[in-house]
């Protein structure tokens, strides 16, 4: 189901992602910007994004299987916080359409 995130919602998600990362890596939230590299700068890993999805699933009504999101990420790798946020927006906004996209591409 398609939905459109408002600028306020996007801002809120951005802040929540920063808070999640700041808590996880025990650093000041202000140190995290869109350009921060999740793996090289923060010492993160590929499971991190899936953990965030788990955290945000209920609040943002994400019904997609983590497996599907993983498949999406295979073709759309995430390196920076900015890319993480954009992918989060895509997942929330496109919902099931993401599966169709994957099917068409695959």
């Amino acid at each position: 189901m398609k939905r459109k995130l408002t600028d306020a919602e996007k801002k809120e998600i951005y802040e929540e992602v920063r808070e999640f990362l700041a808590d996880e890596f025990e650093i000041d939230k202000e140190e995290i910007t869109r350009g921060t590299n999740v793996i090289d700068d923060l010492g993160g890993d590929s499971i991190l994004f899936l953990e965030m999805i788990e955290e945000f699933k209920e609040k943002y009504d994400i019904n997609l299987e983590v497996r599907t999101i993983g498949q999406y990420m295979l073709k759309n790798p995430i390196y920076t916080v900015g890319e993480t946020i954009d992918t989060m927006f895509e997942i929330i906004e496109k919902g099931d359409d993401l599966i169709t996209e994957l099917g068409e591409e695959g």
Binding site: E24, F25, E26, G43, G44, D45, I47, E51, E54
Partner: protein
């Protein structure tokens, strides 16, 4: 087809250039070593868990300041993704690498390896929880190859990294594999470690059922008494040790400070029993002779034996017999000591610690004692360096014994100088 990564296979000695150690007597090599030379015991009443339902209520717990060290050096996310055995292995490996002064930015990391020996603490320490959010990392936390994998990531090692498991001989098996890998020409540097954290309620109960643990709860520091007539078994400890091994050429080229040179090893199976050594130390004789043969050195050249010395009636009796059979008259000239008398038995960690103790003894010309040798056993009549360390000027060559459940035996031969 020849593997292009293999340089020339050789029989040159392998250098021991770095040591890192965490055991009940300390959280660094120097602290552990000083306490061993002072003949201190790290055995105390168990507080790690409530031992009320266990017959044995004493153990070799890590020093209290270990936990501050671990917290300081383990980021929250890494903590969730690792078990304590992995964290100990990482800390020991870091100390060993720093101690070796090998400059990682100047060497070929494709030719660096990490090998860990463990009896499987990661899946056998169910109470070793990492706090909230841990469960989702269960697979990567508990896989027994996690520690060498982390070390490969920590330092960029791209050579072979893997875990071996051979019960109480796991650490020395890891070191033996490291030796073989270096002599094969495949790698220049290996960080080899042995670690276990099996001081758990489950392990103590099972150990009590098998009647292998000491029940001397009233005198924790007196419980481990290898080769003493009143020995009644061992106590379980947590701990580990990592060593840096380097090829002869690599160590000489960079003018490394060498603790000792590893000349060879014997790694053999008893093919007898899952828990008992073969009668009268037959398997022990076999592996010691194999090690001497592999090192191309005669028994008369050995000065010191770092004994397996588990404080069980059987091991210490058979180990004594085996030493007499191999070394004959020379057995009575040997200095023999059992570090487990002071630190308990950390299973996979123990044999790596013994290896390091042997290297340290050669380097410093000091031999730590076997403590609690108070009541002579007529069947154990060799020089076990009782109760006080000895200075051994001229100490040149030594072996380190480890005999594991399952009949996994490993003996390594070390020499001070070439």
């Amino acid at each position: 087809m020849a593997n292009s990564t293999y340089k020339s296979r050789n029989n040159k000695p392998v250098a021991v250039t770095g040591i890192g150690m965490i055991c009940p007597l300390g959280i660094s090599t120097s602290e552990c070593w000083e306490n061993m030379l002072a003949g201190k015991s790290g055995i105390r009443k168990i507080t790690k868990f409530d031992p009320d339902e266990c017959i044995t209520q004493i153990g070799g717990q890590l020093p209290d300041d270990y936990f501050a060290l671990e917290k300081e050096n383990t980021p929250k996310r890494l903590f969730k993704q690792t078990v304590r055995a992995t964290r100990i292995s990482r800390l020991c490996s870091r100390e060993a690498i720093e101690d070796s002064r090998v400059e990682l930015d100047k060497i070929d990391l494709n030719r660096c390896a990490a090998i860990m020996g463990t009896s499987g603490s990661s899946v056998r320490s169910p109470d070793d929880l990492g706090g909230p959010g841990t469960e989702r990392f269960k697979i990567i936390r508990e896989m027994i190859n996690a520690a060498p994998a982390w070390i490969s990531i920590d330092y960029g090692f791209r050579g072979p990294t893997f875990t071996v498991s051979a019960a109480c001989a796991s650490g020395s098996y890891a070191i033996a594999r490291a030796f073989d890998l270096i002599q094969s020409g495949a790698v220049d540097v290996v960080v080899a470690s042995g670690v276990d954290t099996l001081l758990t309620e489950n392990s103590v109960k099972r150990g009590n059922f098998m009647k292998m643990l000491s029940e001397q709860n009233q005198f924790p520091e007196k419980a481990m008494r290898p080769f003493d007539r009143k020995r009644d078994g061992w106590v379980i400890s947590d701990g580990g040790c990592a060593v840096v091994l380097e090829s002869y050429d690599h160590a000489v080229r960079r003018n490394a400070d060498v603790y000792a040179w590893m000349l060879g090893h014997g790694s053999l199976s008893e093919s007898y029993s899952l828990y008992a050594p073969s009668p009268y130390g037959e398997g022990m004789v076999h592996v010691i002779e194999s090690a001497l043969d592999n090192a191309q050195i005669s028994g008369e050249k050995i000065d010191y034996v770092c004994a397996n010395g588990t404080s069980t009636a059987v091991n210490d009796y058979y180990e004594t017999i085996a030493i007499k059979k191999v070394f004959r008259k020379h057995a009575y000239d040997l200095l023999i000591s059992a570090p487990k008398s002071m630190i308990g038995h950390s299973i996979g960690g123990a044999s790596a610690i013994s290896f390091a103790v042997t290297a340290l003894a050669l380097k410093t010309q000091k031999i730590p004692p076997t403590i609690n040798c108070e009541f002579p056993d007529v069947d154990c009549d060799l020089n076990y360096v009782p109760n006080a360390m000895v200075r051994a000027n001229g100490l040149e060559t030594a072996i380190s014994n480890s005999f594991g459940f399952g009949g996994h035996n490993c003996v390594v031969v070390l020499k001070k100088s070439l």
